[in-house]
Amino acid sequence: MASLRDIRKHIKSVKSIKQITYAMKMVAAARIRRAQNSILSSRPFAVKMEELIADLRGDMESENFKTSPARSLFDERPGALSAGLVLVTADKGLCGSFNSNLLKAAAGWLRENRAKKIRVICVGRKSRDFMRRLKGLDLEIAYEMVGIFPKAGYVHADLLAGNVLRLFERPDLGSVTLIYNEFKSMLAQRIVRTDLLPLKQRINQERRSAEHKFRDFSFEPGKRRLLETLLPRHISAQLYRVLLESQAAELAARMNAMEAASKNASELIDGLTLRLNKMRQTMITTELNEIVSGAEALGG
């Protein structure tokens, strides 16, 4: 049976935990607005970029694009011996099931590709730690990027894209898959698993109608060179969006987790306070009883 002192101590510690979780929630809430804004402000650029590429790509079919090195980004590579993975997680925990769901998805992917050699690019401390812990797989960490959240910038995306492209230069690499959390709403995140490379042909089919627009355009320095520099940028822009999404999703997840934790702490405190009061009351009652019965015994 816990004594009064024990319960008081317990209440105190729960209170201080609640303070921490509440503070973390407020921090996440303040940051999430910024994260959402940066998603919004990155959108016009990404849209225009996609349009530009789509337009150019339509023109590219007739050009001598087949020999260009950028062409290989589109090629499917059947029978490849290794596979690439870009796993984007958070740097820190305390954000509910954010990381564990991601790692579960990654584990699923690893199981599917266990026959191949696996090359991973880790973004976020949790993903790196997870990959390092893994044993019994033919796995190599090609690149890791740790500590960029919550201040992910385009520079990081650019760096990441450079590394992804370098990875894809290996002829034995079949594809690069991307696993990350998408920011769906403040309450929900969605795990997304897409193939980053090879680039999809759909880019060009979607916007075939726009092709005519570009018929009488002049290009500098030549369409081919233009596309060769555009495509890596496209990947950077895409990765930038992914980083921002993941960042916002992480903050949202942390906010929810910390709110739940604060609520639980409050409930716990309420319960404990009730128990404390009851116990104190019982003690008082017993003492009173003793005094009264003692007085009666003396007087009677």
């Binding site: 650029f45 385009y154 650019d158 002049s218 290009f219």
Partner: protein
């Protein structure tokens, strides 16, 4: 010429200007500076890091842009830059420091250093400095 150009400057992190009416734009194209007036032929060019200027009546504005693409289509001018900075916001002292740092990094040239990155940083610093000086002269 009654019509004007509609200028849009976008970077991945921020939309600087959307559909602003201007009279004249000068962009740092890959093979040299390029002036655009209303009625220009449509084109797509790659940009290198440099100075972007535009004129709206008597108001002039200068931007630093760091590599990207420009598309002119009809009266619309679209700049997709990797980074852009309003000249007014560039601090000369900081630019000079960045320049020095980039130069030092290049001079040291460690074994595992990324040469491309260092050179890009140097080029950016040069552009910032150039703009800072440009600003001093015209103010």
């Amino acid at each position: 010429m009654p019509n004007k150009l509609l200028l849009t400057i976008l970077t991945p992190e921020k939309a600087f200007i959307t559909d602003k009416e201007v009279d004249f734009v000068s962009i740092p194209a890959f093979e040299g500076e390029m002036g655009i007036l209303p009625g220009h032929i449509s084109f797509v060019v790659q940009l290198k890091e440099g100075v972007l200027r535009y004129k709206d009546g008597h108001k002039k504005e200068i931007f630093a842009v760091l590599s990207g693409f420009a598309e002119v289509c009809g009266d619309k001018v679209l700049i997709l830059a990797e980074e852009a900075e309003l000249a007014k916001e560039i601090d000369e002292e900081r630019a000079r420091q960045a320049y020095q740092k980039a130069k030092d990094a290049l001079a040291m040239r460690g074994k595992d250093m990324d040469l491309d990155a260092a050179q890009a940083a140097l080029r950016r610093a040069v552009v910032r400095l150039k703009i800072a000086e440009f600003k001093k002269r015209y103010k």
